[in-house]
Amino acid sequence: MKTDQLIDMLSTNVEPVQQGRLRKTLVWALVVGGGAAFCVMLATVGLRTGLTDGFLPGYFTLKLLFTLSLIGVGAALLERLMRPGQDGRKLFAFVFLPFIIVVCAGVASLVFGQPMAWGRMIFGMQWATCMLCIPLFAVVPFAALIWALRKGAPTDLTRAGAIAGLVAGALGATAYAFHCPDDSVPFIAIWYGTLVALCGVLGAMVGPRLLRW
C-alpha cells in the first residue's frame, strides 16, 4: 500500500473531535469504579456499625484524607499519562507525599504511644479482613481505569499501569474505610499504605500487557 492511499483514506470525511472527551472518559471510570467498590463493600462486609449513630469521625477522616489525596493526585497524573508527550514528571513526586506523611504519623504515634498497646495499634481487630478487602474492592476500579486509559494513548505503559493500580487501590481503600473498625494511625500507615502501594506495583506489572496499542 502506498502511504498516499492511506492518507486519502484517513482524510476522507473527517469527523470533528469533541473537546474534553478524554477527560470525561476518565471521570466516568473513576465514578463507576468508585461506585462499584462501594457497592461491593456494602454487599460483602457492610457499613461499620456505629458509622451512622455518632462515632468519633477523626480516624475515618484521616483514612479518607489519605486515600482521597492519592486519588486526586493519581487522577491528575492519569489525565496526563493518557496523552502522548505529557509525562507529568513534576506531579509524579506528589504521589509519594501521602505515603510519607502517613508513615511518619504512624511512627510518631507508636513512639509516643504505650509499647504495651503497639500490637493492638498495628494489627487492630481486622487486619486480615483489611488485607483481603482492599485489593478485592480495587478490582472493578482497576478494570474501569484500564478501559479509560485504553481510550487514550499512554506511551509509558509501566507508569500508567502503576498509577491506575494505585488509584484503584485508593478507591478500594476508600470503600473499605466505611467498614474498617480499626482506629489507629499505625494501622492506616501499615495496612492501607502497603496494600495501596501493592496495587500500584501490580498495576505496573500488568500495565505494559494491558495497555499496548
Binding site: T3, S11, T12, N13, V14, V17, R83, W213
Partner: protein
C-alpha cells in the same frame, strides 16, 4: 525543515483537522508522513532495518495519529505529541522484533522534524487483504465513508445503520487496522 517554523503551522493544521477540516487534516498527514519517514529511516539505519519496515512504521504512526487525535490537548505544543507517538511506535516495533532498546540511543525530539523525505517506497501491507479481516460492518463502513467518499448519512442509509453506529464502526475499524498492521510485522 526547521522545528520552530513548522510547529505553529502543524499545530494550526491539527486544530483545524480536529474541528473537522478535511483539507487541513490531509495537509497535516502529508507533512507528517515526510517527517515520520525520515525519523524512522534514521532509527532503523542503526539496527539495519530496511525501507519497507520504515514505510510500515510510517503508516502505523499515521493511523495512530488519526485514530488517537482526541488525545491531543489543544493548549499544548503539537510536536512533542507527534514525537511521543512516533517514539512509542518505534519502541513497540523494537519490542516486537526483539531488538534490545538499550542498544539504541533514541534521539531527541528535534530529529523528527529536521529532515523530510519523499514517498517512493510502498509498505508491505495490502489494504484489501487487511480490510478483509475486519468485521463486515466495519469493512463496509470504511469502504463507503473512507474509500468511496460517501457521506456518513449516505453510508448509514445503505448499510441500514444509524449515523453514529457508522461513525463508531469506522473508528473501531481503523483501530483494528492499526492492530492488524502491527501483528503483520515480523515477530
Amino acid at each position: 525543515m526547521d522545528v520552530r517554523s513548522s510547529e505553529p503551522e502543524l499545530r494550526a493544521l491539527m486544530i483545524a483537522g480536529l474541528d473537522g477540516d478535511a483539507t487541513a487534516h490531509r495537509a497535516l498527514l502529508e507533512k507528517l508522513s515526510g517527517q515520520l519517514r525520515a525519523y524512522f529511516k534514521g532509527q532503523l539505519n542503526r539496527i539495519g532495518g530496511g525501507a519497507v519496515e520504515g514505510e510500515d512504521l510510517v503508516q502505523e504512526a499515521l493511523i495512530a495519529i488519526h485514530t488517537r487525535r482526541h488525545t491531543y490537548d489543544r493548549s499544548q505544543l503539537f510536536t512533542p505529541w507527534v514525537y511521543a507517538i512516533a517514539r512509542y511506535k518505534f519502541l513497540d516495533y523494537l519490542r516486537r522484533t526483539k531488538v534490545s532498546a538499550a542498544d539504541i540511543p533514541i534521539d531527541e525530539a528535534q530529529e523528527l522534524a529536521v529532515h523530510d523525505d519523499s514517498a517512493h517506497v510502498e509498505s508491505s501491507l495490502d489494504l484489501k487483504r487487511l480490510l478483509a479481516e475486519l468485521s463486515p460492518k466495519a469493512r463496509q463502513s470504511i469502504q463507503y465513508v473512507k474509500l468511496d467518499g460517501l457521506s456518513v448519512s449516505e453510508a448509514a442509509a445503505r448499510l441500514g445503520m444509524s449515523e453514529s453506529a457508522v461513525k463508531v464502526s469506522v473508528h473501531r475499524g481503523l483501530k483494528t487496522l492499526a492492530r492488524l498492521i502491527r501483528e503483520e510485522k515480523p515477530s
